[in-house]
């Protein structure tokens, strides 16, 4: 085994170890949330996952972006088949070990090349949309700083990876043409053979150098990318699958019942019913989470809301359909998801550093203001638009519950609405005795 193979093995091993650690960290953070059992209607769940995540059914609602995204996505998945061969070649020092498949191999390599070109072009167009055309949903304030860099970094990296892939093939093809040792003829190169004409003046030694550099760049790039995912919105390429499987299948406008409240209300309405025993405090990361109504912090949200936050692609489709945002209100459902993720990461970092969670005096409410929460009409345009079936409304409602039931913070007009409902059984100041007045005139 050559030195190259050893370095290669070490790299793959280290990257896999890091990746596993990152994924465990993401998993731990998601499980900071409250338990919620989601395993009903399983066949429907598989179907939703196949349609929405695999089939990208909600991406193509916007045809141009949808089409380009499918190219990048297909390219990403399919070209990674090639990684299998790269790994085997890397370990055994072989050249295109799968070429024994003959014509089929040629077909594969040929289609990878077309796809790579497609991905390259699509990413370039995406960059233009973000940075030159400046589509509104990509220039909003909540993307300032890291999120915008993140998006551009991903697109540039994809372009660099595809360039390396095609250049590697071009050098390889040139070497095959010249009958260089080790580079036995294998594969079809519809795209890179064109690029290869630019390499016609290179010596065999420099061709080998180009091929090797690109080969290493490509594989190191992929390994680095893998470990970049957990820090990026790009995590959606993995989480889109479980996240859509765990989609809300109930009617969009249905708000889940708080069973904890039911027991208390029943005992209020009927004194013979025993009030429920106080809940046993939940211990998360060595920290006793107070049992409270609604969501103050990430611990109070369902784990599914936290998975939602990690799955968010920051595409802003939700925000661009949100009536509150369209009319200039502070609320942006995308920002709700980004803030939730950022808070979860913040909590996770403390746990990483101290081995347990210690209250830092902040919460979800430090990031998400009342003004944002009270602007929501619960219209569900956001959940409809989201390509990975994220539900920002659930977080908004849980946070409102905390404001109202724990902090008595609400809007003045809502307080009078509450009073009216409580006293008159209607949101306005009309008593039940007037319920039939409409029949009279």
């Amino acid at each position: 085994m050559g030195i190259g193979s050893i370095i290669f093995l070490l790299l793959v091993g280290a990257a896999s170890w890091l990746f596993a650690r990152n994924i465990m960290r993401v998993r731990r953070n998601i499980l900071l949330g409250k338990d919620e059992v989601i395993n009903d209607r399983r066949s429907e769940r598989w179907a939703v996952m196949a349609r929405v995540a695999l089939g990208q059914s909600k991406m193509v609602v916007r045809p141009i972006a949808g089409f380009l995204h499918i190219i990048v996505y297909a390219g990403f998945v399919i070209i990674n088949i090639e990684v299998l061969e790269i790994i085997i070649d890397g370990i055994f020092g072989t050249h295109r070990v799968l070429s024994f498949m003959g014509g089929f191999y040629d077909f594969l390599i040929g289609s990878f090349e077309w796809l790579a070109l497609g991905v390259w072009l699509a990413c370039a167009i995406f960059l233009v949309r973000r940075n030159i055309i400046k589509l509104k949903r990509f220039v909003m304030k909540e993307l300032d700083g890291w999120p915008r860099t993140d998006a551009n970094l991903i697109l540039s990296t994809e372009i660099a990876l595809m360039t390396a892939f095609l250049l590697m093939n071009a050098a390889d093809w040139s070497l095959q043409q010249r009958g260089a040792e080790h580079y036995t003829a294998a594969g079809a190169f519809p795209v890179s053979s064109v690029i290869a004409s630019a390499l016609s003046n290179c010596s065999i030694a420099s061709l080998i150098l180009i091929e090797r550099i690109c080969w290493w760049f490509h594989i190191i790039g992929i390994l680095a990318f893998l470990n970049y995912l957990p820090y990026s919105k790009h995590l959606h390429i993995l989480l889109a699958f479980p996240n859509t499987w765990y989609s809300k299948l109930k009617p969009k406008t249905e708000i889940a019942n708080m069973e904890r409240v039911t027991g208390e209300v029943m005992s209020m309405l009927d004194p013979s019913v025993q009030p429920p025993a106080p809940a046993v405090p939940r211990v998360v990361a060595g920290y006793e989470v107070a049992d409270r109504f609604g969501a103050k912090d990430v611990f109070d949200l369902s784990w599914k809301s936290l998975m939602d936050a990690y799955s968010c692609t920051e595409c802003g489709r939700c925000t661009s359909e949100c009536p509150a945002n369209i009319t200039g209100k502070l609320l942006s459902p995308r920002k709700i998801m980004m803030d939730t993720r950022d808070r979860m990461e913040e909590v996770g970092k403390v746990i990483d550093a101290k081995g347990k969670w210690e209250d830092d005096g902040n919460s979800l409410h430090t990031r998400i203001t009342e003004e944002e929460l009270w602007a929501c009409t619960t219209c569900n345009a956001c959940t409809q638009a989201c390509p990975v079936n994220i539900d920002p409304v659930n977080i908004i409602v849980e946070m409102r519950r905390y404001l109202v039931m724990e902090e008595s913070k609400t809007r003045p007009a809502l307080t009078s609405m509450f009073n009216n409902v409580e006293n008159n059984g209607a949101p306005w100041a009309f008593g039940p005795d007037r319920r039939m007045e409409w029949t009279e005139s």
Binding site: T253, A324, V404, F418, E422, A426, P427
Partner: protein
């Protein structure tokens, strides 16, 4: 329009040992809001014309709790819901129809978890069924050939996947049905949901109902059809904002049918 309405309460049915075909859940807007009361009456005329044996709860009806739950007051919601469920189950109610998509959503989707399971229909679904069964007939009438556009209520459309019933009913008017730019799944909210109806809007550039009404007016309709008392109020205000109330009417589907059929 002059025939007196036939309305009986659930208590009256029970006293006579009778069971109505369906309970008409009037809702708070339908009971107290002057504009929405007209919708209630139009729907009653349709029910009467179709000889539907329906009951109302009258004084025994109370807010479903929808705005309280959406505004985060789960206690108040459950107080309302559990009280209503006791009343409904006490009468053995099986079928409910309501002209309010918010009541519809709450009764249909949220009461089962609190012991109240009923077959719940939105009035556009009910009217559509009556038409299909031939219990009421409406042909064109005064709306024949007029441009009508329909604003999907979020709680009926996106919320409960009902886009067709209101449109099927509207087609019976022989009108020219024009779709809004944002319609069905992509319909834009009127701005009232999530308890917004009962509060000032948060600061912003404009009101949601103005945004939506502008879009509706761009379709140059004679009538903007609504299926929700809150949407109705929001759109009526929005049309006034553009000083178009003389040319463009905002009418509930029940009102359109009652007028067209001269019920």
């Amino acid at each position: 329009m002059s025939k007196p309405m036939q309305i009986r309460t659930m208590a009256e049915y029970a006293a006579g040992g009778e069971i109505p075909e369906v309970l008409f859940w009037v809702g708070c807007a339908g009971s107290f809001d002057d504009r929405a009361k007209k919708i209630t009456k139009a729907f009653v005329r349709i029910l009467n014309a179709a000889n539907v044996k329906f009951a109302v709860l009258g004084q025994e009806e109370s807010c479903t709790g929808d705005p309280a739950r959406r505004a985060g007051n789960e206690f108040l919601f459950q107080m309302q819901a559990l009280t209503n469920v006791t009343v409904l189950n006490g009468y053995g109610v099986k079928r409910i129809v309501t002209a309010c998509p918010h009541c519809f959503n709450t009764l249909k989707n949220e009461y089962p978890a609190l012991g109240g399971t009923y077959e719940v229909m939105h009035h556009t679904q009910f009217i559509n069924a009556l038409m299909k069964e031939g219990r009421i007939k409406v042909e064109g009438g005064s709306f024949k050939g007029k441009r009508i556009t329909f604003h999907d209520p979020c709680y009926l459309g996106r919320g409960n996947n009902e886009y067709e019933a209101p449109r099927e009913v509207l087609l019976k008017l022989d009108a020219a049905l024009v779709e809004l730019k944002r319609s069905k799944q992509n319909g834009l909210c009127c701005g009232a949901g999530g308890a917004q109806m009962f509060k000032e809007a948060e600061p912003g550039k404009r009101e949601v109902n103005v945004e939506r009404s502008e879009e509706a007016l761009a379709a140059e309709p004679a009538v903007i059809a609504a299926g929700c008392p809150f949407c109705n109020t929001m759109l009526t205000d929005g049309v006034k904002h553009f000083n178009k109330e003389g040319e463009v009417k905002v009418l509930d589907i029940a009102e359109l049918i009652a007028q067209a059929g001269e019920l």
